[in-house]
Symmetry: C2
Subunit: 227 residues, 2 copies
DNA sequence: CTATGCTGACTGATACGTCAATCTATTAGG
DNA sequence: CCTAATAGATTGACGTATCAGTCAGCATAG
């Protein structure tokens, strides 16, 4: 048993022109972290959680394998962070959309639904991975996803209760109503990821909202929707 | 290098009372196949796809590792078969429920929705695995699941078109309507797998149908639902 | 010179699928 | 009716591959 050195990068020309600037300052480190997150986003999106390896991410980020572990504790931790980042991004996007549609409250709601569709479509694969597939990744991510989902349902429920108090919508159990709305939105959003039905987000958003508000049974013309 | 025999179950008492009857006849082989499927069902349910190993299934089925491969080509093939079997079981269950509710057509629909909830609840973990999580398992299962889902939507769409022709529901795009119905059903069904809201299936089914039919906006009393 | 960002070979563990050996129910032969 | 041969069902160790995470060492900014 001869002791042999583990590293021998002698007697060879450097394989690539590795011109990696070291991240020294906190700002640089944040930047590198974000580069890794961006790489992870790309790779996870295209290959799914189980099929992407840390090596894949490292390669995409132009970093070595070990460096990933310098910035993140584990593959799971990296994925959790992605979930959190994207959740925030979605919230921000929706918030901005609702703020733009200040004219009428129900328009604000329509804007939120539409914004959700748009957000999903902007980043199809990743959103699918984070907001659906991660259910299947076991308890570790399921809890996180569930928390995210509950948050959105809570937001919707607040809106529902608000309108119920004003008597503008019927007195169905608000949580069930909120869940139904969320269900339709997420399912439609995911549906649109798989099959491109060619419909613009606004049309689908309109359809969903009209269906929820008016129902399938014909209505007498005499009563219109608004307040 | 001494040739050593690979098996030496000599000089030992048989570890278990292995009283495995060989499956010779076609009927026996079918039986064994089904035993394996049942074992796979149990193990997959409790551990998820990636965490269950062929060894787990073999153990649960009281068979050796290799025998699984005598009956199935691969882990994937086994899982695909489970999907197919359960899809058929769900269809049968719904069909039976609708047949029982022959009194009125809309009752038949309510029965179908309720039956779906019941079916999901009877086998929570497995159904969740097969009808949701397998999306995340990569293209191989995604296509299969998608096909199943499309089949159900097609069935619903037929019902929707039927009622539209009779003028009993509004003239919204039938495919979108069918998809919405499917979306609400599946999301509620899955929801009920995770959080036990304590509501009986019939109540939830009623809620879903009423929401879809009547919508959230208040209706004038003067027009009732049925024909 | 030193702290630390960075590297990538290595370890250990896991698990799929294969296969030669073994076993047994059935059949063929005496 | 009994025994040997055959088919094919069953077994589990092995080959092979994959990967998450570690770590000893390298390199560079300050």
């Amino acid at each position: 048993m001869t002791e042999q050195p583990k590293h021998q990068n002698s007697s060879e020309t450097p394989p690539h022109e590795r011109t990696l600037k070291r991240a020294i300052s906190d700002a640089d480190k944040d930047l590198r972290r974000n580069e890794i997150l961006a790489a992870a986003k790309r790779v996870f999106s295209s290959k799914g959680f189980h099929s992407t390896t840390i090596a894949d991410i490292a390669k995409d980020a132009n970093l070595s394998y070990g460096s990933i572990y310098w910035y993140f504790d584990s593959k799971d931790a990296l994925f959790h962070e992605l979930m959190a980042v994207e959740e925030q991004a979605l919230k921000d996007y929706i918030y901005a959309a609702r703020k733009d549609a200040t004219t009428r409250p129900d328009q604000s709601f329509q804007a939120a639904v539409q914004a959700t569709f748009e957000f999903f479509e902007a980043d199809k694969a990743l959103v699918k991975l984070l907001f659906r597939d991660s259910y299947a990744l076991g308890d570790r991510f399921e809890a996180h996803l569930f928390r995210i989902y509950e948050g959105f349902i809570g937001d919707i429920e607040a809106v529902v209760t608000h309108y119920q108090e004003k008597g503008e919508i019927i007195d169905a159990p608000p949580h069930l109503v909120a869940f139904s709305i969320a269900a339709l939105i997420t399912e439609f959003a995911h549906r649109r990821l798989e099959t491109d039905d060619g419909l613009p987000a606004s049309v689908v958003a309109d359809f969903v909202i009209k269906l929820l508000l008016e129902g399938l049974l014909p209505r007498r013309k005499d009563r219109s929707g608004g307040q």
